[in-house]
Amino acid sequence: MEIEITRRSKNSLILANPVMAAAGVLGFGDAYGDLIQLEKLGAFITSPVSYTPRRPAGGARVVPLPAGTLVHTGLPNAGISKVLGKYRTLWEKMKIPVIMHVVGTNPEQARKCASRIEAEHAVQAIELGIDDDATPEEVHQIVGGAARNTEKPVLVRLPSQDTVVLAQAAVDAGAGGLVACAPPRGTARDPYSGKLVTGRIYGPLMKPMMLRLVKQLVDMFPEVPVIGVGGVHTQQDARDYIEAGARAVQVDSVTWVQPKTLEYIARDLGGLVITREQGALADEWHPGMGETERKAREAARRKLDEDSKKTPTGH
């Protein structure tokens, strides 16, 4: 499988699998250890990195929601130099392309990060995260600045507000691909502290909105690869994005909830045909995987059998 996820160029990025985790989901690459085998994914996208260090946001940063969650981190990171110093070796050893997610709130910083990445063998592409309140002019400036300072492809992750308008600006400024969309921002009341918290919303209900936007972008920019992201929780969700015309898919918060889901999705969209029942995936894919499902099924069956013994059969 060869999937070109950026516009044709000498550095265009070609993946062997259309599935990756969204920026911030896997950290900088060592967090999940053996729980997720990164080389099964199409690419590794780093947590957001800025030119200068950023501290975490204060106060409550996680609010539980019905079938979802609000998370606000403040994009803490040590700054691009420190991050590269610490993780370069790990990334060089990775068997899949590394895409660095760069916080795209400041043209100057984005430009400097691009120059820095241009010189880094460990990183193959940039994903620029665009601020929700950015204007088309700002997007043009930020994306253009980054694109002019590196020959590596610059993917642009769009906010879910004004997506189409901002996509036009990004494409005009040289975006190598579009990532649609960042989780929408929202405000929710933290049930513990009673305070209103602003952050990003994650959950399966995000998918229908994002799927519709992806379709719009694909129709509008037939020549620009679009990566779909938002609310992917199952293989079918991922396939829906592909069917809508996305070249690839990013999986986000379900990875936190059920880490192995990410691998299941990658395996499925990577073209591995499921020939046996789900429990059998374990052996083919990742030792230990499928355990829980198999046991859950066994337990459920045991329980049903016991229940049927308990319940009277007479009418």
Binding site: G24, V25, L26, G27, F28, D30, A31, Y32, G33, D34, L35, S47, R55, P56, G58, A60, R61, V62, P64, L65, P66, A67, G68, T69, V71, H72, T73, P76, A78, K82, K86, Y192, S193, G194, Y202, G203, P204, H233, S253, T255, W256, V257, Q258, P259, K260, G288, E291, T292, E293, K295, A296, A299, A300, R302, K303, E306
Partner: protein, 290 residues
């Protein structure tokens, strides 16, 4: 009986931390600015089967879970991120489940009584989360404090401490007084404090303790820990390092150090990743205004 491995006291002792960095490290085994310590133990997904549920009183219940492959590696301070099967998206994120007792391949979890769990139910457990509590080698007296929250994160340490001839006092304040203490070891001294963390003989209890571990209601952890800090500051001339610990119950979306939502700033620009380096943080490292 506890099946906790030897070495939980001693090998993991706090003094050893100095080996890991020149600067004072309050949170897990980290050095300054180094985010990660996950190499310590492999994170796994375990399958738990609820074998028995025991209702303690109207507020609390115990779930007896058989967990294959768990062995006896779990130490006080460590926990799981749990998810009930079959898949539902409510609650969405995994919940932090605190073990209060451990036998080989069986663990007892403390949960609110108003949630219905059923024997035979399967639970996915991501773990082991966090670092064990680090006790002083010279430990004689430990004070455990639960302030408006159940003392569950502290309970598993009690029999272990008694086994090492450490005497243990538990202070319950506010909502924590609903906790059913009748199931705790009889050697444990239990103090029912007032709602604002006051009790008679406070000066003595605090002075006599070699180490103190505190859990607070997670509505506004930092403010509550600061209140505890102030109370202790009034009672002691100065609070030394390695004496007073905040046991954090920060929300943990991923539990493995990936999402950085649990990153907590310390003094002097240090950071603590609560899921991998917590739950206990030395309060002298917390950036209180006072």
């Amino acid at each position: 009986m506890f099946g906790i491995a030897q070495g939980a006291l001693g090998v993991q002792s706090y003094e050893e931390l100095a080996l890991f960095g020149s600067s004072f490290s309050a949170c897990g085994l980290i050095r300054k600015y180094s985010f990660h310590t996950n190499d310590e133990q492999t994170m796994r997904e375990y399958t738990g089967i609820i074998e028995r549920t025991v209702r303690l009183n109207e507020h609390y219940q115990h779930l007896h879970l058989s967990v294959e492959g768990l062995g006896s590696d779990l130490k006080p301070g460590q926990s799981f991120l749990a998810r009930r099967m079959p898949e539902r998206w409510e609650p969405y994120l995994r919940e932090q489940w605190w073990p209060v007792d451990l036998k080989t391949d069986e663990v007892v979890i403390e949960r609110p009584a108003n949630i219905l769990y059923e024997p035979g139910e399967t639970v996915s457990l991501l773990g082991i989360i966090g670092q064990p509590y680090r006790y002083k080698r010279t430990l004689r007296n430990v004070l455990l404090i639960a302030y408006d929250t159940p003392p569950s994160p502290l309970v598993m340490s009690i029999p272990l401490l008694f086994k090492h001839h450490v005497s243990v006092t538990m202070v319950l304040s506010g909502a924590a007084t609903q906790y059913p203490t009748n199931r705790l070891p009889p050697e444990l001294e239990v103090i029912q404090a007032d709602d604002d963390l006051g009790w008679t003989n406070m000066v003595m209890t605090v002075g006599w303790a070699d180490q103190v571990f505190v859990v607070v209601r997670p509505d506004d952890e930092m403010e509550r820990f600061e209140r505890v800090w102030k109370r202790f500051s009034e009672l002691r001339a100065g609070i030394d390092k390695n004496y007073l610990f905040a046991v954090m119950q920060t929300a943990l979306p991923c539990g493995v150090g990936a999402c950085l939502a649990c990153l907590t700033p310390l003094r002097e620009g240090e950071m603590c990743v609560v899921c991998t380096q917590g739950p206990a943080i030395d309060m002298t490292a917390l950036p209180f205004s006072s």
